[in-house]
Symmetry: C2
Subunit: 219 residues, 2 copies
DNA sequence: TTATTTTTTTAGGTTTACCTAAAATAAAAT
DNA sequence: ATTTTATTTTAGGTAAACCTAAAAAAATAA
């Protein structure tokens, strides 16, 4: 159950590509991994021997259940580290990817579960992509922070990243719950606060700090 | 200025060994790195070609200034990560070494400086070893937490790991400063609090939390 | 000082993950 | 249905970091 960083990158990349292409070609992998097709073929044979994917020559590749399981754990690590870098170390969300590419290959399971707990079990990374939990389960809908929602675009609250009692108390008071439909009426650049409209209610204002922690998705 | 994890381990290990042995032998390195002497010789030739150490066949090895500089940066990373694991992720101080062995090879300079800031610039790792600063400077005296000081052993306060104003206010009030000579009179296992004796003063008591953050060294 | 033992190096392999160039297969075009 | 083009694979090579076995140098003992 321990794979080289290179193998982990192959599994992760195949996972991402097969969500768009269903069957993943050698050339697509070569482009994504910045390697030559010959190298891809070679590695696919090794990964097949390790029973991580379904591959037959000239016919492309797909992960099997075991391969998916491994890929999802790497994605979990990547996204948790990204979240850590942005929320705790004050990195910009656009500068964390490369560092997370390295951190995702640290092997300790205990480390990643403790990191998860330290971060309060976040469900979305700084780019809005879902973070799989310890068991590999995650929301398939792409969530974004309320802060990044376009003005006048209807959305539905799908979660909060910080589950402190203070935060939950505030949300209850403002009548915001999981499933609440709302839209942003106005953004105030001065303090990044937002004016929100919830159906049948008077408009309310939330601070940047609060908006940052509310996750929404389309419709 | 970028070296493989393996090369970094060689430099780090030579650094540690030459603090005891002055000249480091091939066999000593082989034992420390769990590799065969032949592999050591091979790598030493490479590191010499990269101008990181002074090496002549059959005559042992020493780091030059550049090699030391690199080694210290790796040690800095190792100890900062250990501190992070213990203080933020609640690892036991005895179970962090292996994980830090992996984390120390993450390359981002920005990451390590931001981590340092996030941790409030600690000067000692959980084992009492000094943490080099951004420029590679560090105290050579081995500091330990007051919590780990033996009863009736005279010691001198050399630093505090948490520099919050609350902590500093408490220390000022109890008359504890950098340089204060003191000894532990009694340890209360019930709450891990300590009774301290400072010369010409009445004995005082400090909690586990406070003692943990006070660093002392011998004499 | 010469012989023996220990340490270190050299010479030649192995594995991993890349590469290039040529061959095989599949897909597209005439 | 061939031919042409594109994709994929095979064959053989390289660099890094390890290995074993044998040779060379240094240290120790007789």
């Amino acid at each position: 159950m321990k794979y080289s960083a290179s193998k982990e990158n192959y599994l992760k990349t195949i996972y991402h590509l097969q969500n768009e292409q269903n069957i993943v070609t050698t050339n697509a992998l070569a482009a994504a991994l910045q390697a030559k097709p010959a190298s891809i073929t070679e590695m696919l044979k090794k990964l097949k021997a390790e029973k991580l994917l379904i591959y037959e020559r000239y016919k492309g590749v797909r992960l099997n259940n075991e391969g998916k399981k491994v890929a999802i754990q790497i994605i979990r690590k990547h996204r948790l580290w990204e979240y850590f870098l942005v929320r705790k170390l004050q990195f910009g969300w656009n500068e964390v990817h490369e560092v997370a590419e390295e951190l995702e290959h640290i092997t300790s399971k205990k480390l990643i579960d403790k990191l998860d707990a330290f971060l309060d079990f976040p469900v979305t990374d700084p780019h809005g992509d879902p973070i799989p939990d310890r068991f590999g389960k995650f929301n398939n809908v792409r969530q974004i922070s309320l802060l990044d929602l376009a003005v006048n675009k209807p959305a539905k609250v799908s979660g909060v990243t910080s589950q402190t009692t203070d935060m939950l108390e505030l949300l209850t008071h403002k009548n915001i719950h999981i499933g609440t439909r709302l839209e942003v009426r106005k953004k105030f650049p001065f303090d990044n606060s937002l004016e929100l409209k919830i159906k049948n209610q008077v408009p309310i204002t939330v601070s940047e700090q609060v908006a940052k922690n509310i996750l929404v998705h389309d419709e």
